[in-house]
Symmetry: C2
Subunit: 377 residues, 2 copies
C-alpha cells in the first residue's frame, strides 16, 4: 500500500473511527485502526466489537484530489499513536507506505515516522448487513432524538437492557423510550422506510458516540436493522452497533392517564430555580428539592440541608389547576427533563405526592418526560 | 451586618479569594470565606494558612455604587456553597444580612438562601506587614516572570526548598531561579524599590495562584518582603504567601562558562519537531529524544521505541559551530524551556553529550534555560 493523502481529511476520519477504539480491549488488533486503499479511495476502520465505525475518503471529491493511490493494499496501525502523529504532521500532504514486515512509513515535510503495523487480514470483518428493513431521517433530527432520550438510560448493569434506548417502529412512526426505572423519556417522530415493525434496544453508549461523530446537517442518514445489529449509514460513514439482547419492559402502564394537579410554567424559570435550590441539595445524598403549590398561581421550590442551610424561591406560574400539592424529587432528574423538552412552556401533570408525574410541552404529544417522586413526608 | 452588593463584582471577588481556600484543611473555619463590611466597603478573605487572599470591594468606584452598607459587621460563610450560590443568583442586586445565631440570609430576586455562618472573630488574623523592603513592577511583567520560571520548580517534597522559586534582589535587579535539579530556569529583570538586598524562596503554588488572579495589565503591583512572608499588593487585592524556609542552593556553578557546540535555530521549528518526536518517546519511561548534528547545518531529531517504531526529522538550523554532537534529553524539559524563552530564534550551547546545556535568546542575557542530558550512549 502506498498513498498520498490530505492531512486534514485524514485527521477527521481518524478522529471519527477512533471513537470506536477502546484501549481496554482484550483483542490486540482492535487497538489499531485499519487502513484499506483500493482504486477509488481509502477506508479507515475502528472497532471495539460492540461498535464498529468505517470512514471513507474518496480519491476525489468535488474536483479536489483527496488521495492519490500509488499502490492498493491494507494495514493496521496502532490507533493512539497514529491519531496523534497525523494531527501533528508539519505539511498538509502525507505519504503512507507499507514496506516489508508491515513496517509503515508516514512522511510529511521532513518528518518521517516508521510504525510497526499489523496484518489487516487478521482484523475482524465488519458485519454483513442486507439492505432490508431500511429507514431514513435527517441527521439533525436523529441527533435531537438521541439527546432527548439518552440521558434517561440506566448506568447500572443490573438490568443490562435498560442501558439502551428502546426504538420501536410502527406504522411509519419511530418511538424512542429510555428509562432507568426512576424516570422515563419518550420521543415520537415520523419516519420513512420500507421495513416491517421493529422493536430493538440500541446501547446508550453507541447512540452517544454516533451523535458525537455526526455533523448538524439536514442530510439524510439511513438506518438498517438486523436481528442483532443496527447500521447507520451516511455519506462516507458506516456506523455499526450491536443491539442489546432481552425484552424491553412494557413502560406504557407506568404513564398515568389522569392527573390531580396541573401546573403550566415557563421552562427556563423553573429550570433556573431548581438549579439554584439544588446547590444546597447536592450536599445531601439524594439531591432532593421540594415543590409546593402556593396561593395565587405561585409555586415554591425549596431545599434544606441541616448542616448548611435552606433555600426557597417563589415562581409565578402560568396556571395551577386542581389540588394543592407538596412533592419532592431529584433536582437532577427534573433539570435533565426540562432541558430535554426544548419548549418555552411546560405542563406538569401530578397525580399526588407519591405517584409519578409527567412533563410535556404545552399541546405537544411528540415528547414526554416522567419522573418518580422521592418520599420525604 | 447588612449589605446590598452588585452580584458580578461579588462573584469576581469570591472567585479570587476562593483560590486560597482548601477543602482539605484541618482548621474548619478556613473552609469559609470571611466577609467584613465597614463604612467604606466590604472585604472578602480566604486562606489556607500558607496563602491568604483579601479582595476589597469599595462602596463606590468611578461614580458607581458597588455596595450599599446598611449595617457594618462581619461573618464567615461556607466557601464552596457561597461561591456557587452567588454565581447563580437571578438578579444583579444581592442582599446579605446576618441574623441571630449567625444565620445569614442571601436574597436576590425571589430566591432566598439561609446559610449557617461562623463567627468572624474566630477567623485567623492576616499577617501584619510593615511597609519596609517594598518593591514594585508592572503586573504583566510579574506574570511573565512567573510563567518563565515556575515550570522548573520541583514537584517532589524530598527537598522542599526546590518547590519554590528563588527571588534574589540585588542592586535594583531581580533574579528569579527555579530548578528541580534536572533543569534550571533563570530570569533577570530590573526592579524599583526601597529595600535592602534580599534572597527569599516563594512557593511555586503561591506564584501559580497569584498569576491566575492577576489580570494582564501594566498597572503596578507592590511586593513587600518580611522574614517569612511576602505580600503582593495591587488595587483592591492583598495576596500573602508564606516563604519557604532553608537555604536555596548556589546554582551558579551549574551553569557552564564555555561550550563546544553552538546551535542557532528557529524556536518554533525545533519545538514542533521535538513535539512530534515525543509522540513515540512518551511511551518509554523517560520521554527521551535524541539530537544529532548533521552535515550542512542540519540537525536530526529522533526517537525510537522498539514496540512502536521510530521517528526522525531533519531541521535546517541558522548555524552550527564547533564539534559534532549526539545528545539525548527529555522532550518535555526541552519543550518547556523553548516555550518559556519567548524568542523567535534560540541559541543552544552544548558542552558535550554528558554536560548540561544552555538555551538563550540570541543576544539576550535576561533569561537562561539549562537542561541536563540523559545518558543513552
Amino acid at each position: 500500500m502506498k498513498i498520498i493523502i490530505q492531512r486534514d481529511r485524514l485527521v477527521q476520519s481518524v478522529n471519527d473511527v477512533l471513537k470506536a477504539v477502546s484501549t481496554r480491549t482484550t483483542i490486540p488488533i482492535l487497538t489499531g485502526i485499519k487502513l484499506k486503499a483500493n482504486e477509488e479511495g481509502v477506508s479507515l476502520t475502528g472497532s471495539d466489537s460492540d461498535i464498529s465505525i468505517e470512514s471513507y475518503i474518496p480519491s476525489e471529491e468535488e474536483g479536489n484530489e483527496l488521495v492519490e493511490i500509488k499502490e492498493t493494499g491494507s494495514i493496521v496501525l496502532p490507533a493512539r499513536f497514529f491519531a496523534e502523529i497525523v494531527k501533528k504532521l508539519p505539511e498538509n500532504s502525507v505519504e503512507i507506505e507499507v514496506h516489508a514486515h508491515l513496517q509503515t512509513i508516514i512522511r510529511s515535510g521532513k518528518a518521517e515516522y516508521k510504525l510497526n503495523g499489523l496484518n489487516a487480514d487478521d482484523y475482524p470483518q465488519l458485519p454483513q448487513i442486507e439492505e432490508e428493513n431500511m429507514y431514513a431521517m435527517p441527521i439533525d433530527l436523529l441527533k435531537t432524538i438521541i439527546r432527548q432520550t439518552i440521558f434517561a438510560v440506566s448506568t447500572s448493569e443490573t438490568r443490562p437492557v435498560l442501558t439502551g434506548v428502546n426504538w420501536r417502529i410502527e406504522d411509519g412512526q419511530l418511538i424512542c423510550i429510555a428509562t432507568d426505572s426512576h424516570r422515563l423519556a419518550m420521543r415520537k417522530t415520523a419516519i420513512s422506510g420500507n421495513g416491517n415493525s421493529h422493536s430493538v434496544v440500541v446501547p446508550g453508549k453507541s447512540l452517544s458516540e454516533l451523535s458525537k461523530i455526526l455533523d448538524d446537517t439536514d442530510e439524510e442518514i439511513q438506518m438498517i436493522f438486523t436481528e442483532n445489529q443496527v447500521l447507520f449509514k451516511s455519506k462516507n460513514l458506516l456506523f455499526f452497533s450491536r443491539l442489546l439482547e432481552g425484552n424491553y419492559p412494557d413502560t406504557s402502564r407506568l404513564i398515568p392517564n389522569e392527573s390531580k394537579t396541573d401546573v403550566r410554567i415557563n421552562t427556563k424559570e423553573l429550570l433556573h430555580a431548581i438549579d439554584r435550590a439544588s446547590l444546597l441539595a447536592r450536599e445531601s445524598r439524594n439531591n432532593v428539592v421540594k415543590l409546593s403549590t402556593l396561593e395565587g398561581s405561585y409555586i415554591e421550590i425549596s431545599s434544606h440541608t441541616p448542616e448548611v442551610g435552606t433555600v426557597t424561591e417563589e415562581i409565578l406560574t402560568h396556571s395551577i389547576e386542581g389540588e394543592e400539592l407538596k412533592i419532592s424529587f431529584s433536582a437532577k432528574y427534573m433539570m435533565d427533563a426540562l432541558k430535554a423538552l426544548d419548549v418555552t412552556e411546560v405542563t406538569i401533570n401530578f397525580t399526588g405526592a407519591m405517584r409519578p408525574f409527567v412533563l410535556k410541552g404545552v399541546e405537544d404529544e411528540s415528547m414526554l418526560q416522567l419522573i418518580l417522586p422521592v418520599r420525604t413526608y
